[in-house]
Amino acid sequence: MTGLSTTMSGSGQRRVMHSLAEYGFVVMFFLWAVYLTLATDNFATTNNIFTILRQAAIIGITAIGAHFVILMGDMDLSAAAVISLSGVVMGEAMVNQGFAPIPAALAALVVGALVGLVNGLIVTKLRINAIITTLGTSSILSGIAFTITQGKTIYGERGNDPIDKIEFLSRNRVLWDWVPVPVIILFACYIIAFIVLRYTAYGARVYAVGNNERAAWLSGIKVDRVRIATFVVAGALAGFAGIMQVARQGTATAGMGADFLFPILTAVVLGGASLRGGRGKVFSTLVAAIFLTSINNGMVLLGIDIYTQNIVSGVILVVALSMDRLRTLRL
């Protein structure tokens, strides 16, 4: 009896540790949210929660693509540059070339997808490491974006601004005029991503390639094709995020996506996706993206000095990430 109960409590402890590892950042998020609810008047208001979700949309949507790529054991560092370039293409097409919103958006999406295709082809056919490849394309894309804008901001004439036509993507509310559009789009993207990963053959192949590329190949999966498709998906999603960002800021600049790379990758890693591939839950990435956004939001609400903000967000991140190490603890 004693022996049995010891074993049970041992496995119980292991289970607790394991779920702490899997959802450690959720615990941090929870504690942070409780603290903010008590310490500020405005954190737990609908207005603020929608603000956080709206702000998380760009990072969250792009992080889906990054999540897919990381599931395969690759890494896409070009996502931020794609946001900038497709944003610039969107802005340039609408403001300076007179495109209607839909053709302009298609052009921006195609640019994103094409970048993904190029990344995928280089990684699979030339066998160049994805980090090096996407770092290189990132620099090229940024150069193209600056060449298009010549370092200037793209914006329309006030009152007659073509970008106003897509502003609803950022500003409007739906469902009884309550939920902001970007929040709906964010959740819709995640639901689709979840369904794709869980219920389609493509999703199963992504996991298979990430778990063991050779085994996947031996079982007849066209590994290269899966990897290329995944880079295309990631590029198109980043392109879509670029369109959303143009709607959000009402302008386009060649550096508009630059600040997003770190939070996008952090969201995926914090969400528990393994950098070696094959393991990761897409909804955890969503929660992590929201958590990351709430860190900055909370610090502003708390009135933390701007110089101290980096320290606080660094500490929160390190603690949240170290919880992941509990996974390897054996008790």
């Binding site: 500020t40 008047d41 405005n42 208001t45 207005n47 603020n48 603000t51 709206r54 702000q55 010549q150 370092g151 200037k152 901001t153 914006y155 006030r158 950022s170 500003r171 960002q245 959000r248 800021q249 009402g250 302008t251 600049t253 550096g255 508009m256 630059a258 600040d259 900055n296 939001n297 502003v300 609400l301 009135g303 000095d305 701007i306 110089y307 903000q309 980096n310 320290i311 660094g314 500490v315 390190v318 603690v319 170290s322 190490r325 390897t328 603890l329 054996r330």
Partner: protein
């Protein structure tokens, strides 16, 4: 045990990096006093000085202007204005585009020296890499005027630059005047900052100083992250949740202020005073169209170009001038724009 060690080391690394960041933050506070600055008045050229300069240049001598680049509005304006102003004064002048490339800049400087330049007016984007070329030029008797930076004082060169403190103060001062005139001196002010760049921190501090001095009853509710449109937008959305009555935004640049404008418009506000710095075209358009955007501070590129030539003339005429000279900043408002027309 092994994992415990791992955890402990992660925590230690976190603590160490925190400590070093705190130390860095303290270091920032102990910067040296800036050197005494001359003003545009110190560069006023007399007839005799111009004659002396023309004589010193002779037939073959010239002033060489080495621009950082011609691909941004600021840099091309400085160089073109210097060239036009020198030509107008009858001075031989030649220009060179470094294309933001160290090698190109070095060979440009060397070529000017061997061609007989007597003064080199230069914009430096990577001072340490070009230092030896400039040292050689100085040894060959070429006088150096640096603009858009203050790195050449060691070589006896003259530097001509806009001061971040002046720009910040001008923006803060204008906002404070509007607070006094339109809001009876009372306001909730948000400052958009970008603390990663030391020079920008100087701007933000000067904005704060001006407001505290000129509109003492205004409350500065905080410094928020700006610098880019997205930062300005995100910070302002969040700041409005905690401080819905913010009615003045002063920003270290126009990009952040434009993001804040978007957030304020999204929130349905039309009663906020926004002042930025940089004189971006979009900001100028908004000021002209009588929006919430009320003012921006110009980095005065054309004036900078003229001052570099004045400094060159003074050096050629062997007149005494201060080593570091501040370019006067230029506030752009609806009134100044109307005056221009």
């Amino acid at each position: 045990m092994k994992h415990l060690k791992l955890l402990v080391s992660i925590v230690l690394i976190a603590l160490l990096s925190t400590a070093s960041m705190v130390a860095m933050a303290q270091d920032d506070g102990e910067e040296e006093e800036p050197p005494e600055l001359g003003t545009a008045e110190d560069l006023e050229v007399t007839e005799e000085e111009l004659e002396a300069a023309l004589e010193a240049l002779g037939e073959d001598g010239f002033i060489g202007v080495v621009a950082c680049t011609y691909s941004t509005e600021y840099h091309s304006t400085v160089a073109e204005s210097a060239e036009a102003y020198a030509t107008e004064k009858g001075l031989n002048v030649r220009t060179f585009d470094s294309e933001i490339n160290v090698e190109t800049q070095i060979s440009g400087i060397e070529n000017f020296v061997s061609d007989g330049a007597q003064v080199i007016v230069v914009c430096l984007f990577d001072p340490p890499s070009v230092q030896s070329a400039l040292e050689e030029a100085a040894e060959a008797g070429v006088m150096i005027v640096q603009y858009a930076g203050r790195d050449m004082a060691d070589l006896g060169g003259v530097t001509i630059s806009v001061e971040d403190a002046d720009m910040g103060y001008a923006a803060g001062q204008y906002a404070a005047e509007l607070i006094n005139e339109e809001l009876d001196g009372e306001a909730q002010v948000a400052i958009l900052d970008y603390p990663d760049i030391a020079n920008v921190v100087i701007r933000a501090d000067a904005i704060r100083a001006a407001i505290e001095e000129i509109a003492p009853d205004a409350e500065i509710v905080g410094n928020y992250l700006g610098g880019t449109a997205d930062n300005g937008l995100t910070s302002m959305e969040t700041a409005l949740i905690e401080h819905p009555d913010i009615n003045v935004v002063v920003s270290i640049n126009d990009a952040g202020a434009l993001g804040a404008l978007q957030a304020l418009e999204n929130a349905g506000r039309d009663d906020v005073i926004i002042v930025g710095i940089d004189a971006e075209q979009q900001a100028i358009d908004l000021i002209e169209e009588d929006t919430m955007y009320k003012g921006t501070v110009d980095t005065a590129p054309a004036r900078t170009g003229e001052m570099t030539i004045d400094a060159a003339v003074k050096l050629l005429a062997q007149a005494e001038i201060p080593q570091n000279i501040a370019v006067p900043v230029n506030l752009i408002t609806a009134e100044t724009l109307a005056d221009e027309e």
